[in-house]
């Protein structure tokens, strides 16, 4: 991580009764885009809420620009937060909402700032409609405009792409990259690996309330690629295929299910993907289906935590 940390999370834990939501997490965040990645229920939102000051820590401290974030309202001049909740003041027009957010944040030259924020999220055409008529994606965008209206140095965004259509996603990603290039510090929470991969230079992997891994995305991706995968193969000659596959270096174990499917355990799925068709062709075997059995994000995160 280069540059001085803007956000410092130091030994932070949070529990609700006997349930530990976040456990002894420590990291620094520098300018640029940092992805807070983890499966649903991993503790990302709780962690993000503590980083914004909306929730208290049970132990540990969160500081931003060297100041505590909790009970420190003046700091919010420099921070923009977009929570995961999509509720808006339905009776307000989009423009009224952004104007209210700007006024609350003490923005000077308010109308100009409102115009700029609404243009950034490409909602000028709908700014005078009440927000109860907005689609889910439009609500997300107007909330982002409200978050950006005071031109904050730090952006904390919790699952911001929820409800956005593909076009909006492209627009949103471009906008975040522009803001990061302009020196903003952006923390983006998501449970979607590819979403974070496209945007974040640095990734913080949160699993079961713990920091499972952190660093550049490539390093984390490489760690993910080295994990063992179970792959299920359905073909017309399972025993013959199993005999051939077991000789591959990328394969750790093979067995044939009672229903005739070949289940392969491999630490190098890329090699397996390349070798399987070749083996099938040379053995005259017809492949009907190849499917990963544990490709869910939870299993990926679970593997990293167990390491």
């Amino acid at each position: 991580m280069s540059g001085a940390p803007v956000i410092r999370v130091d030994g932070v834990s949070r529990w609700f009764g006997s349930v530990v939501a976040v456990s002894d997490v420590t990291f620094d965040i520098a300018p640029g885009i940092t992805g807070l990645l983890g499966p649903n229920g991993a503790g990302k939102t709780t962690l993000l809420r503590m980083m914004t000051g909306l929730a208290a820590t049970s132990t540990g401290t969160v500081t931003m620009f060297g100041e505590p974030v909790r009970d420190n309202p003046p700091l919010y001049r420099r921070i923009g937060v977009m929570s995961e909740h999509e509720t808006v003041y339905g009776f307000m027009t989009g423009r009224q909402f952004v104007r209210t957010m700007g006024r609350l944040r003490g923005v000077s030259d308010l109308e100009k700032a409102v115009d700029r924020a609404i243009d950034l999220v490409d909602l000028a055409h709908a700014q005078h409609r009440t927000m109860e008529t907005y689609s889910r994606g439009m609500r997300q965008r107007i909330r982002l405009a409200g978050t950006l209206v005071h031109d904050p140095e730090v952006l904390l965004l919790d699952e911001p792409l929820n409800g956005a259509d593909p076009l909006q996603r492209v627009h949103f990603k471009r906008l975040l990259l522009q803001l990061a290039a302009a020196g903003r510090t952006i923390v983006l929470s998501s449970h979607i690996l590819e979403e974070v991969e496209e945007l974040a230079e640095t990734v913080l992997l949160i699993v079961n309330g713990k920091l499972a891994a952190s660093g550049g995305f490539r390093a984390i991706r490489a760690a993910l690629n080295q994990r063992p995968y179970h792959v299920r193969v359905i073909c017309d000659a399972p025993r013959a295929l199993a005999a051939s596959v077991v000789r591959l270096g990328a394969v750790d174990a093979v067995h044939v299910d009672p229903d005739g499917a070949v289940v392969v355990l491999s630490r190098n799925v890329l090699d397996l993907q390349l070798e399987l068709p070749r083996l099938a062709k040379s053995g005259g075997i017809s492949l009907r289906r190849v499917e990963p059995l544990d490709d869910s994000l939870e299993s990926v995160f679970g593997y990293l935590v167990e390491r």
Binding site: T87, F91, T100, R105
Partner: protein
């Protein structure tokens, strides 16, 4: 601060809410008119049944509960409170305008109701009428401060508020003498007595100065609790 005030005014002025408040506020006037149809009630009877039990003990707290409790409770339930809390303003600049907005909406209903009721009952005696109106509005302010706080500490604010109105203000404070020392209904009535001792020269109430201090403490105390709660709570 004006943004929070204006926002709250819009949030709390739904059509149904206003209609219910209008009906509630009209009830004491109707009862006063009905009482005058029979033999004219004594001031003590009028105070007991209309001013204390009905206006200060039921109608005013119900109207204020319907307005003040949702001021924060709805924001918490809708998860929009973060919009305000994440602004670089002191927590008092959120709580105070919320409270002022609730009073702005509720007070006119109760003031008009109290004015009309006492004007009818006291046959145009303006001193008594103004005393009742001011006492009722002071009650609105105290109830509003209490219910604003209640909306911050529980999502069941309306339920707990109703329980408080019926059990504490309605039942206990009417029959248990000591409870009157902790009853907004009785503070409100004591203020009326203090403002027009000539008309309301009965009952055992603390002096006007004492009751004024108590009213300010109740109003300010709940406001302070609300501000403290905003600073310490986990905002959803």
């Amino acid at each position: 601060m004006s943004s929070v005030y204006r926002l709250t005014l819009r949030q709390l002025t739904g059509r149904w809410r206003i209609l219910i408040m209008t009906v509630l506020a009209a009830m004491p006037v109707a009862i006063a008119l009905l009482m005058l149809q029979g033999s004219a009630p004594s001031v003590r009877e009028f105070e007991t049944f209309v001013l204390s039990a009905m206006l200060a003990g039921s109608i005013a707290p119900l109207v204020v509960l319907a307005i003040a409790a949702p001021a924060f409770a709805n924001e918490i339930e809708d998860r929009t409170l973060a919009n305000l809390v994440l602004a670089p303003i002191a927590r008092s600049q959120i709580a105070v305008p919320k409270l002022l907005a609730a009073i702005t909406i509720a007070a006119p209903f109760i003031a008009v109701s109290a004015f009309a009721t006492s004007y009818v009952a006291f046959l145009g005696d303006m001193t008594a009428t103004m005393a009742v109106t001011i006492g009722a509005v002071a009650g609105v302010a105290m109830y509003a401060s209490a219910f604003i706080w209640l909306g911050l500490v529980t999502t069941q604010a309306i339920g707990f508020g109703l329980l408080y109105i019926v059990v504490w203000e309605g039942l206990f404070s009417g029959y248990v003498a000591g409870v009157r020392l902790l009853s907004i209904r009785h503070f409100s009535i004591a203020l009326i007595h203090g403002l027009d001792e000539r008309r309301f020269a009965f009952g055992n109430h603390p002096s006007f100065a004492v009751i004024l201090v108590i009213s300010v403490v109740v109003f300010g105390g709940f406001l302070w609790l609300s501000i403290r709660r905003l600073r310490q709570m986990d905002v959803p």
